[in-house]
Every structure is written in C-alpha cells, then in structure tokens.
Symmetry: C2
Subunit: 300 residues, 2 copies
C-alpha cells in the first residue's frame, strides 16, 4: 500500500504570476495499491464530482509516469480523501497530479527524480507554481523555461496564518485565463516585478509590514475581480480587519489574507462580514506547510 499526503497550494500570491506559490497545511491523502486487475477509484470527503474511470486525474497522472517508467500494474485501487476544495484556486489539481505521480513512481521502483516528476506535472498543468510547492513545500519560486522547470523552495518561519476565504461558487481556470489581455503596459509589468520581488523579500526576511505593498498586482486580479461580487469591498475589509496582505489565490475565486497573530478575531470578523454577501463564504485559518509531499509505503 502506498500512501501519499500532498498539501494544498496557493499560487500567484498577487503579483507573482505563474511564479510564486506556497504550500498550506490542508491535505489530499491518497491510498493506492496494485490489484489483480481493473481500476477501482474511491473518493471520500470530496467537494466536487470526481471521475471514477480512466479520465480521473490521479489515474491520468499515474499513467503518465507509467509511460515513462515502463511499469505496467495489473490493476489499481485508488482511494482519495481530499480536504482541498476543488476548482477554488487551492491547487486541488496539482495535489491529484503530484500525488498520483509520486505513487506511480513508488510502484515503479522510484526511477524518476523529484525534478523530473515536477517537469511531468508541469507538462500536465501548464505552469509549475502550484505543483512545485505541492511537491517541495514552503514558499516556492518557479521558472518554466521550455520543458525545464527550475524551483527554489524556501522554508518560512511559522509565525504567519493564512486565512483562506472560499466561496460557494467556482470560476473555471480556462475562463479565468481567457479574461487576461495578451498585451500589458511596460509600466504594469515593472509594477508587478517590483511587487513580486518585495513579497518574496518580506516573506523570507520576516519584515511583514512590507507584505501589503508586495501583494499589489496589476496583471491578473484587475481582470478577474469581476467574477467575484464585492471583490473590492472584501479586500478593503480584510485590511481593516488586520490583514498584512490580501490576494486572489491562484486564479481565484478563493481570497487569501496573510495574518500575524492567531487569526481568531480576523476569522470571526470576516465571517460576520460575509454573512451579508449573496454567496456563502467559508473562512479557514491555515499555516505554511514546509514539508511538501510525504510518501510512505507498507508492503502487505
């Protein structure tokens, strides 16, 4: 039996378009074993519709690795218990892909290195900014250059809370990507370079008063905010309530606030604030996961 635990991830982090991501202590857990035949997929505790055939994302990720390694399992039983909400911008797809690939690699005798796993995962996802922290944990800077992926994972101090505010609706990533312009001004590009750089500097040095300026973005949030009723008011309220930085997680619609302190008052205040929104929003307090994916194997 192979067990894999993969963390949720929050990408973009405002200005760090397709580059920055962080792992969070909310997990997808897989239990995978080889059987005598057939494909048996069981999903527990999942928030969306999950395919139980060969179109299942965990299975497809495993199959991608088996094509590399040449290993051919007779049959597979895949059990997934994921606490990561689907299609909300918290890396549920990356968790499926990384988890499936690590499990398939383990079944194949671990012939593929972690950097190569990440490149296969990035090939499936298109960008590495969720897959990298899902694999390595921490705060990750990722660069995709042709087929190569370069990553630096930096462990963060555990003195921050990440308040994840998840609405009851979703925005398809495809639609959300389609909302973006092909061209931007050089000024806006420079704007985001400076903010993404400052966000990293603030997070890694602990100078958290610089997080707010570092979370500003002009390249994707302005185009995506129309999908979220009351976007500006929510952002403003988080800052009034003590947020150090607020941004759209991935392509949304989840909104993230970074907090110092335990966050309890923030959560209570935001829940009261959201009770007047036309959608239901759930607020969870998470921490950075500095560990990344964990795999264990027990032989029956």
């Amino acid at each position: 039996m192979i067990r894999v635990r993969v963390p949720a991830t929050s990408a973009n982090m405002g200005p760090g378009f397709d580059t920055l991501g962080i792992a969070l202590n909310l997990y997808s857990r897989l239990e995978i074993e080889e059987t005598d035949g057939g494909l048996d997929i069981i999903t527990v505790n999942n928030s969306g519709n999950v395919q139980n055939d060969k179109t299942n994302l965990v299975y497809r990720a495993m199959d991608r690795v088996f094509r590399e390694t040449g290993y051919r399992p007779k049959g597979l039983r895949i059990k997934q218990d994921s606490a990561i909400p689907m299609t909300r911008g918290l890396g549920s797809s990356s968790a499926c892909i990384i988890g499936g690939m690590l499990a398939a690699n383990a079944l194949s005798g671990r012939t593929i290195s972690y950097p190569d796993i990440l490149e296969l995962a990035t090939e499936m996802e298109g960008h590495p900014d969720n897959a990298a922290p899902a694999l390595y944990g921490g705060f990750c800077v990722s660069v995709k250059s042709g087929d190569r992926v370069y990553v630096k994972s930096i462990k963060l101090k555990n003195d921050l809370k990440f308040a994840v505010m998840i609405p009851d609706f979703f925005v398809a990533t495809k639609k959300s990507r389609g909302a973006l312009p092909d061209k931007v001004s050089l000024k806006d590009a420079a704007f985001n370079i400076s903010r993404a750089s400052m966000l990293q500097a603030a997070l890694t040095t602990g100078d958290y008063d610089l997080l707010k300026i570092g979370a500003e973005d002009r390249l994707h949030q302005p185009y995506r905010k129309s999908y979220i009723d009351g976007f500006d008011e929510i952002f403003e309220h988080t800052y009034r309530t003590g947020s150090k930085a607020t941004y759209l997680s991935g392509s949304g619609p989840t909104i993230m606030s970074i907090l110092t302190g335990n966050g309890a008052a923030f959560k209570k205040d935001m829940e009261a604030f959201f009770s007047e929104n036309e959608h239901k929003w759930k607020c969870m307090l998470l921490e950075c996961d500095n560990v990344g994916s964990v795999l264990s194997e027990t032989r029956s």
Copy 2:
C-alpha cells in the same frame, strides 16, 4: 568637515526592471564644508565632465535638502573624488545625489530620516533602484508607489565576485529608456516576474546555480543590446568563462558577470577576449558592499 562615502550600484540586474539593485565596493567620496561665501567645487579623479557651478549634481542634491530643512549655508566647498565611472550604468548619479543629500542633511542637523532622503533622491532620479543600495548597501528590492518608496535591503554573503566590464563609450539613459516599447506581451511580463523572483531567491539563499536562469530578461536588454557591438558574443563568452549570471548593469553599457571563486582567471580571459573588440573594455572585480553610505563629521 563632512565626509561621505557612497558605493557604486548596479540596477535592474537583468530582469529586475526598476526594482533590483546591488551596492558594490567602488566608491564616490565627498568632502564638504561650509565656507564664508560662494560655491567652490573641486573634482578629482573623475572620468567625465563635471559642472563646477550650481548645475553640479551634488550641489543640486544638497540644495534640494536645504529647501526641505530651511538651512542656508553661507558658502560651500564641495570636493568629490569618485572612482565610479560616469554614464556607464554604475550609479554615478545616485552616488552624487545620495552623497550630497546626506551631507546637506548633516549640515542641517540631520532633520531628515533615511527613508525621506531616499524619497527625495528618487524624486530626482525617477526610480529608486540605484539610490536604495547606494544608501543602504546590500541587495535591495525597491518599490516606488506614488511619492512613497519602500525598500528591503538584504545583506549578501561575501562569496561572490562581481566582474564589471566597462566600455569606453556611453549611452545616455534618456536614449536607452527611449528604446523601450510602451507595451509588452503578458508572457514576457510573466517571464521577467519569474526570473527576477529566481534571481533574488538564488542570491539570498546561496543557490548560485540558479543565478543564470534568474538573470534572463525580455523587457529591456533585447531593446538595448543594439547599442553594444558584439553584445551576444560577449554574453556567450562570459558564460563559457564561468559566469554564473551576466546582465546589463542599469541601462548599460556596462556588462556585469556574477562569479564564484576569486575571478582572476575570468578577468584575464575576458581582457584577452575584449582585446579583439573595436572598443576598449575595462574589467574590474568587485564585491557586494553590505554597508551602504557612510558619513563622518569632524568639527574644525
């Protein structure tokens, strides 16, 4: 007598357009004293034409501070001994401005804070990426937001050499800025965000094999390289000769290579290589200055 020592600086650092900068151990030294009247400007060891009247940049920077503080010196004697070559992309202007402002502030009784000095300097220069490391030293991330300037200076380990390759010609910053397009593709913007982020991660964690991918740029170097004969060949040769990262310093024409090791072989090889270039190039091996500007005052 006020003495100020201000380091040279290298901005942009490839992808970090108007954002990243580093201080280097090459200095402009000012000796300034109040006299009974008149303006007396002496320049020593300077590579360009320096005005000796009220259009002098050190004087203008001082005057800007005096307008803030209300202090009115009867007369001034300004002596500048600068090893920083002018108009080459090594922050000679910032060194004049920061040096003049610190001296004027000292004469006025130090009424202006360092962050405010930096904002006044940025107002004169238009962007903070040279002025910030000139003032604070180290590797600096700067954000200009309206009139406000936010800076995080990060001290680097002293295990890198910065090979500064300076040609015998210059490109006016105005011309060099004018070469840039107003619009860029979102893809190129994201390209630079990822590289600038990786450059910072590589420099600050010491994972220097990631510097090369982190030094790539699509927003200004492609437009500026036509001003430099043999640009691509020079870059390629630096990498063959052991450079960890090569970029155009500021808006050029100085080219910078970051090296591990003592750099002696690199310098020798590049000097031989440049002997065949139609221009004369000088190669200096510098280190990061983690101290920033130093001011001392002796009362006569």
